[in-house]
């Protein structure tokens, strides 16, 4: 070690960046690169999150081409569509990112003893959230801006819509932050982590529902959607407020538009004032809460032992005879139930997607005739395949991923049994409750138990869907760093499952109405059994590869 005998150089007067600017740059860099990056050099980093974000922006821009369907339509209809979809994207993005950005456990040890206020940290994070939200919103709305401009040479629309979208981004961010702060204030720090997950799930679901309802209404009312005496409730949906803003300044300028515009401005202002003014102190408390490592409540052991008891009674004890699979089941289940990071990724990730089968169930509810069941029930059953598929893909990421070295150090020849344990945990703890819920909803809507058999094609396909993430020995539970979790690859799987669900549900619906449903079930069972056998054998052959 060299001794540095020179005194520390004096600090010469030169411009220094403010802490706020430094923090904003820091959080943006962390967001774009991810937080953990073992084995990477600086040149390698943009390939991770930055590149994926660019791809996401391109995808959003392409998705935004749907706005072309609104060419030469009233401004309010176009604006409702654009704001509703923007609301979904922003709501889901902010809900899934806010927990990690706002409350990061390690951050306390790095930043809380530096001369920065929690308020400065909060604002820097909010700015990053809003900035990235605006990139996403900008990409999605790009085509819409041209459509609005081209419809009637309405030069004001692009400017007004950009402003209202910024307002919407601020509203979404403010709402999520406010929900966290209210949770902190009302329920205290002891329950913060669990509540953060719950809050995120609800925000995601609310965003998706709000975004799903309005565009459907636009099409239903043949593009002439207005807020009138019979449809006053549209004014309760946030995207309608921002659409009203567009219509007031760049459209019909009718009274209801001005009212909606006023609501947009007042509600956004109020949310921001409460979240960043009145309750900023609660954020400081939240940060400190994560920094306090001592448990405040001694939990009864019995509460945590139910998992142990569960795996020791049939049928789980029969299903988990292999000790490695059993250990992996317990590990995965414990993380699904207790680990904040995993919960924040898995539940908000899965919940919004599951809205779609319920939308189909409700849409097809007019098929009361037993021979004409429609599309909704079989589609809902098959679409449940998304649960293990997404669940297992997301469960491979953990902040404690380096601890998974123990899997390779243990005398196990490959990851197969670990994958089986994790798969079974996801099927038991996520897919089975969802299946029961769908079954209950089908029964409540149709009032006929016999229609539950229409879920069979989905139940048969479930084990095959659940094996897909593990093919090639991938998706070993908790074995990957969390920054890789923002992968765009999940989108491809979702589209694939959706296509299969559409095809199989269409076939099941046809088979039911024409009387060959049970032959379809038998045929599907044979194909699924073959695929399942082949995939399990392939997984059993996988050996550990060298980790570099």
């Amino acid at each position: 070690m060299n001794s540095a005998e020179l005194p520390l150089p004096p600090i010469l007067p030169e411009p220094t960046p403010t802490p706020e600017k430094t923090l904003r740059r820091l959080f943006l860099t962390l967001f774009l690169r991810g937080r953990g990056a073992r084995g990477l050099n600086k040149l390698g980093t943009p390939k991770t999150i930055g590149q994926k974000l660019s791809l996401t922006l391109v995808f959003y821009a392409l998705f935004g081409c749907m706005a072309l369907a609104f060419l030469h339509q009233p401004v309010f209809a176009l604006a409702v569509y654009l704001h509703a979809m923007t609301f979904v994207f922003l709501g889901m993005f902010i809900a899934s990112s806010a927990g990690e950005i706002l409350f990061n456990k390690e951050e306390a040890d790095i930043l809380m003893h530096r001369p920065v206020t929690p308020k400065a940290m909060l604002w820097a994070k909010i700015r990053v959230l809003v900035e990235v939200s605006l990139w996403l919103a900008g990409a999605f709305n790009l085509v819409g801006l041209f459509v609005g401009f081209g419809s009637a040479c309405n030069w004001r629309f692009p400017i007004i819509h950009l402003f209202s979208t910024t307002l919407e981004a601020l509203f979404c961010t403010g709402c999520v932050v406010l929900i966290y702060q209210l949770c902190l204030r009302w329920f205290g720090r002891e329950r913060l982590e669990g509540l953060m997950t719950t809050a995120q799930v609800f925000v995601s679901i609310a965003a998706v529902m709000s975004g799903q309802i309005l565009p459907r209404l636009v099409f239903r009312f043949d593009h002439v959607l207005t807020v009138g005496e019979s449809s006053w409730w549209i004014g309760l949906l946030p995207p309608a407020w921002f659409a009203g803003f567009d219509d007031a300044f760049a459209g019909s300028a009718m009274l209801y538009s001005w009212l909606l515009a006023a609501i947009a401005v007042i509600v956004t202002g109020t949310v921001l004032w409460i979240a960043f003014g009145k309750l900023a102190r609660d954020y400081e408390m939240g940060l400190q809460a994560l920094n306090e490592t001592i448990s405040t409540r001694v939990k009864k052991h019995n509460h945590r032992r139910w998992l142990d008891r569960l795996v020791n009674v049939p049928p789980l004890s029969w299903w988990l005879r292999d000790p490695v699979a059993r250990a992996s089941f317990l590990l995965t289940a414990a993380y699904l139930i207790r680990d904040r990071d995993v919960k924040l990724r898995v539940y908000p990730g899965i919940a919004p997607i599951l809205i779609i089968p319920f939308v189909f169930l409700l849409q097809n509810n007019h098929h009361k005739d037993a021979s004409d069941v429609g599309f909704g029930v079989p589609f809902s059953g098959i679409y449940l395949g998304m649960v293990p598929l997404l669940g297992l893909q997301m469960l491979q990421y953990s902040q404690q991923w380096q601890a998974s070295d123990i899997f390779r150090a243990a005398p196990i020849i490959g990851p197969a049994q670990l994958c089986h344990g994790a798969r079974r945990a996801v099927l038991c703890l996520l897919a089975l409750p969802m299946l029961l819920l769908v079954g209950l909803i089908v029964w409540l809507l149709r009032g006929d138990w016999s229609q539950l058999v229409l879920l069979l094609p989905g139940i048969i396909a479930l084990p095959v869907f659940a094996l897909v993430p593990n093919l090639g020995g991938k998706a070993v539970p908790l074995s990957q760093p969390t920054d890789a979790a923002k992968s765009a690859g999940r989108g491809l799987n979702m589209i694939l499952v959706m296509l299969i669900a559409f095809a199989l549900a269409g076939l099941a619906s046809l088979a039911w109405s024409q009387g060959w449903f049970w032959r379809l079930v038998l045929g599907e069972f044979a194909v699924a059994a073959g695929l399942y056998f082949f995939m399990r054998r392939s997984l059993a052959r996988v050996r550990w590869t060298s980790t570099e």
């Binding site: 600090i11 990056a37 990477l40 040890d109 306090e292 448990s295 405040t296």
Partner: protein
């Protein structure tokens, strides 16, 4: 006095982590802050660096009140936390320049200081600019964390297990560094479980257990007063570890084939 604690208390729910701790530390002293796991050392350090709020009591560091002037206080302290946490997706240089900016040190001045530290710690500038912190070894990361605590030349520095991960050479250099810093008037609070290092380096030792002060004095005087031979033996006597050696032997015997 550089550090003054007056009945400082922290209660988490039903558990008192720090129980009415009072003490004073003058400038230029290296103080070993000892205690068994869960004694309240890290909680005390986190309170003194403004990371968590005390439940009751007062404390001042460099004359700045913990509750009334937290930002001024933070500007005058350096802290090496036990976790050694860093933002792993920044390079070493990006991380240190970010920390410097938070203390208002301009980029050029920060870089000159960083170069001095990396020369002292035998790190190459290329490693600092090209590699992300996630790719650093534990020892290298610890050197970066120590640099980030000293970069702004604070008059008071808190170290929580600073030698964790450092190799023998780096540890020797580090010990010399803190002794020199103390001679130049800086106050060092050094929390560690490596008691022989504490015995050799520290001017004064404070032992706490269950949040309460057990002993406070010069290491050699305390050892002599309790007739314990070494600081390690004194520590185990005080914190209920006297039976440990016998229990370890008994346990090791259970491994016999």
């Amino acid at each position: 006095m550089m550090i003054v604690l007056d009945q400082l208390t922290k209660i988490f729910g039903a558990q008192t982590a720090v129980d009415a701790l009072s003490l004073e530390i003058p400038a230029g002293q290296i103080v070993g802050f000892l205690g068994p796991n869960g004694a309240g050392k890290s909680t005390t350090l986190k309170m003194l660096t403004g990371m968590i709020e005390p439940t009751s009591g007062k404390a001042t560091v460099c004359g700045y009140d913990l509750q009334r002037e937290p930002i001024e206080l933070k500007r005058h302290v350096g802290f090496v936390p036990e976790s050694g946490a860093v933002f792993e997706s920044l390079t070493g240089l990006e991380y240190l320049e970010m920390v410097a900016a938070l203390y208002g040190i301009p980029q050029n001045a920060a870089r000159a200081r960083i170069k001095q530290f990396i020369a002292f710690f035998d790190l190459s500038f290329e490693t600092l600019t090209d590699k992300l912190l996630g790719a650093y070894s534990k020892g290298m990361r610890r050197k970066v964390v120590i640099t980030s605590a000293l970069l702004h030349n604070p008059p008071v520095v808190f170290f929580d297990e600073p030698l964790d991960g450092l190799d023998a050479n780096a540890a020797v250099g580090f010990k010399t560094l803190i002794q020199t810093l103390a001679r130049e008037g800086k106050t060092i609070v050094y929390s560690s479980h490596i008691l022989d290092v504490v015995e050799r380096v520290c001017h004064r030792v404070i032992i706490i257990d269950k949040g309460k002060l057990l002993l406070d004095g010069k290491p050699d005087e305390l050892v002599a007063a309790h007739n314990s031979g070494t600081l390690e033996k004194l520590f185990t006597q005080l914190t209920g570890g006297a039976e440990l050696e016998r229990r370890a032997e008994d346990f090791a015997k259970t491994f016999r084939p």
